[in-house]
Symmetry: C2
Subunit: 282 residues, 2 copies
């Protein structure tokens, strides 16, 4: 598979790259960023931390504002940030013209309904196509992967990890959507991409996946108490209940005064990188 | 003086604010950002580190990409990032339509030539008007200020510190323009803002100020060896020569592989914050 280098810039001792490739999963070009820490110059493959972004974001938001490079360089971890959906003039977009669905809002699932199913296949893009590309082009140890994400990307990290046992050594999230079946952003996306039908929706809902028996070893989740989406869209109490019932050790940190922005994410990014590093380097 | 709060967001334990005010120096509205670390909640005024940005930038570039908050929160230092020039439809701009002069390129001097002199008075804005506003509205210890900056903002930090003895406890720079009299960006700006005349230009040129007797205790400067502007616009060797002749201790670090971007700046930002913190907290 061919990879086009958009840019490669030295930062924090490593290389922050941005790359473009033709995707079979989305039938569009896709752009992602990947930070490679200094260690690969010595020839050792490094573990890989996935970061899935939230609604409206591209790879660029976390790449510019995430403050992850210092921690990743120190821990010797590569950091990959994919886009949040296919994009382009031929890709359908929100019929309501809003920002919470369509381009920038792929919800990390494979759509089954048209006109979405042709392009909106972010689940297999993230789980299959992009890892194969990374393995081919970068010194990443694909036996050591972890995943995190923000908001819709927290939903992505949690649902992909829960539904792919053994694939990720650890999973964490910043202000995740944990029950899309029960909140407006999620219901809109699931209805369009998957059609009606709760059984189908449950496979893409963190709380339902846990209720239905999916497990991870443990979870780290940060939430800002001043997050304007907390009560209506995020509803961390539903994750707490599901984890308590399932016996999944959940570290849920309610951070006083923090909102939903990268000013919140960047504050706790080094904590998450360090937490994953412990589990990736065991 | 009235201050309008554009936004205040919690980050790294402190508050990242963006503020707008009517400026007498520029006769425009001006926007700046100020990060206040957690310490003032305990009532202690904190030292203030100025960061002057480079060509084309506003307060936003370093605020989003600078990775300074963790270090400032740890050291208990406030961080202020002004804009680089007056802006607006009534403010004249580069007659050539380029990005290296006019709006976004105030060069931290007070223009004497029209049409520039009405608005382009960034020197007195940074040295007089904005400090008075900060002292009025924030718990900053104005007896403990330091200054740094990038590219044109490195020029600003160095020239303001050299020409205001005792004002700043320490000064550093990232990839500064050190001899505007001798390089294209600088000559264009000095000619338009100040008119012809080397005697006038020397007062706004770091190397000339040092040659003419201005002194600071020491300097910390980082330069990227892969900076595309290194040889034509930055010319750090001229600063090395001037400091050697003047007996100013200069720590000039030539960082292999780094360019002119915020990927470079953010890599060494914590070093600079820590270096200033040592001198501010003595």
């Amino acid at each position: 598979m061919t990879l086009e280098t958009v840019s490669e810039v030295k930062s924090h001792g490593g290389v922050q790259g941005v790359y473009r490739h033709a995707s079979a999963a989305t039938t569009t070009d896709m752009v992602f960023s990947l930070f490679l820490p200094p260690q690969p110059e010595r020839g050792e493959p490094v573990p890989l931390l996935w970061y899935l972004s939230g609604l409206t974001c591209t790879h660029a938001n976390v790449t510019e504002k995430g403050e992850f490079r210092e921690a990743c360089a120190r821990a010797g971890i590569a950091f990959i940030a994919p886009d949040t959906s296919p994009r382009g003039p031929d890709v359908p977009d929100d019929p309501e013209g809003l920002w919470d669905f369509g381009q920038g809002a792929g919800f990390y699932l494979d759509a089954t309904q048209q006109p979405w199913a042709t392009h909106f296949n972010m689940r297999r893009y993230i789980l299959d196509e992009l890892p194969a590309l990374v393995a081919q082009h970068f010194p990443a140890d694909m036996t050591r992967q972890s995943i995190t994400g923000h908001s819709m990307g927290g939903h992505g990290a949690l649902t992909l990890a829960l539904s792919s046992p053994g694939r990720f050594r650890s999973v964490s999230a910043f202000a995740p959507i944990v029950a899309p079946r029960q909140v407006p952003w999620g219901r809109k996306a699931l209805r369009h991409y998957l059609g009606e039908g709760d059984a189908v929706w449950r496979a893409h809902d963190t709380v339902a996946l846990i209720e239905d028996g999916a497990r991870v070893d443990e979870l780290l989740v940060d939430i800002g108490e001043a997050d304007p989406f907390l009560e209506k869209e995020l509803r961390p109490e539903l994750l707490e209940d599901a984890c308590a019932d399932a016996g999944i050790p959940l570290t849920l940190r309610r951070q006083a005064g923090y909102d939903h922005s990268y000013y919140f994410i960047s504050t706790f990014m080094a904590d998450h990188v360090g937490w994953h590093a412990e589990r990736l380097n065991r």
